[in-house]
Symmetry: C3
């Protein structure tokens, strides 16, 4: 049965792209951790427990790079999670493979570019546009679902 | 195969409601963006790059309405994502259509009301109650799953 | 059809563990609510509307315990959601039951310990290690997916 779902080319394509964008999202957690350690900016007292009282204060602070990475992660959660949910249901409605692949590829490209634009602080509208493109792909798939299946 | 899943009435109902609540969640992102622009409250320096140095400082600030919309979005992530995951698995355990529809409808209604109550700052317990109702629906479905299927 | 998916032992195991970790994540929301009420630290003006103007100011504040619970919740969102998505697709690729169960059990254990370590502020590397173990399980499943199915 599980094997049956994975015989579907559209579902295989969805599986690939969903895994890729989720891995990309998890990567941002490592960027945040990297900035926390190199910039010395922590949130929890136990993270700086081996330091002296004076040093503790210095390390329990916010840092612009850390905050930037966290906002990027948050934006990923707000956009990649809807894509995965809507994309899964969309893949199950049996769309054309070429049409589905177009959606998945544009979304993955837009979100990878979004992360680069966010972390590197590229001038607008780089980040804004890639956000809108990702949103648009998810809306397009949601429209595809609701125009095929609607049980209220 | 994909078509087979979508022959199931319960799964079609889940597909409809999951898409609706995810779209509702994405809508809050636009409310946040709207408040950011009309209130002139941004987080990233590149978003105000065309402004003078003095104006930049003025626009890089937090605003109560923007923060309210962001908290609403965060609450959606914390509640709608569990609903979608638990609801998908619940739909696959083969519940009665009427029972499943009741769960999905109550949840969708509660979360739409929750957003209105949050953004419009309606007096409590409007927001609190709609949050509890949404939580309760997800718990009820989780109970339905674990009482049918439990492989530890 | 729904019944067919739930005949698969691996999928049943995934269903159980996904429900458990999502319930665990929702539990943190109640911990936050508990700290908000016992510590008297709220974010929204309507939550303290029955208080006098002076008391309002006192209750609209941040509290270290509330912030800690919120960070724990955020970390859950950033880790449990990827696990659920990758785990679902992994379960559909038809892995060995023993291998799948090992992944699911280690992840659930690591995340439950992570929550305890976060809320109780256990000394590092308790929290750090449990975070890395959870991440590693998700990466391992993602590798399993992409080595079986790759449609770019």
């Amino acid at each position: 049965m599980a094997a049956t779902l994975m015989d579907d080319e559209v579902f295989k394509a969805f599986t690939t792209y969903a895994t890729v964008v989720i891995l990309k999202m998890m990567l941002v957690a490592f960027i945040t951790a990297y900035f926390r350690i190199t910039r010395g900016a922590f949130m929890n007292e136990e993270d700086v427990s081996r330091k002296s009282a004076e040093e503790k204060k210095k390390f329990l602070r916010t840092d612009p790079d850390v905050e930037r990475a966290r906002r990027c992660h948050q934006n990923d959660l707000e956009n990649i999670v809807p894509f995965v949910v809507v994309g899964l249901l969309y893949a199950l409605t049996g769309p054309e493979l070429s049409c589905a692949l177009l959606h998945f590829r544009v979304f993955a490209g837009a979100r990878i570019f979004h992360t680069v634009a966010y972390i590197a602080a590229l001038p607008q509208p780089c980040r804004g546009l890639s956000w809108v493109v990702g949103m648009f792909v998810t809306f397009s798939m949601a429209y595809g679902i609701l125009s095929t299946i609607l049980v209220l």
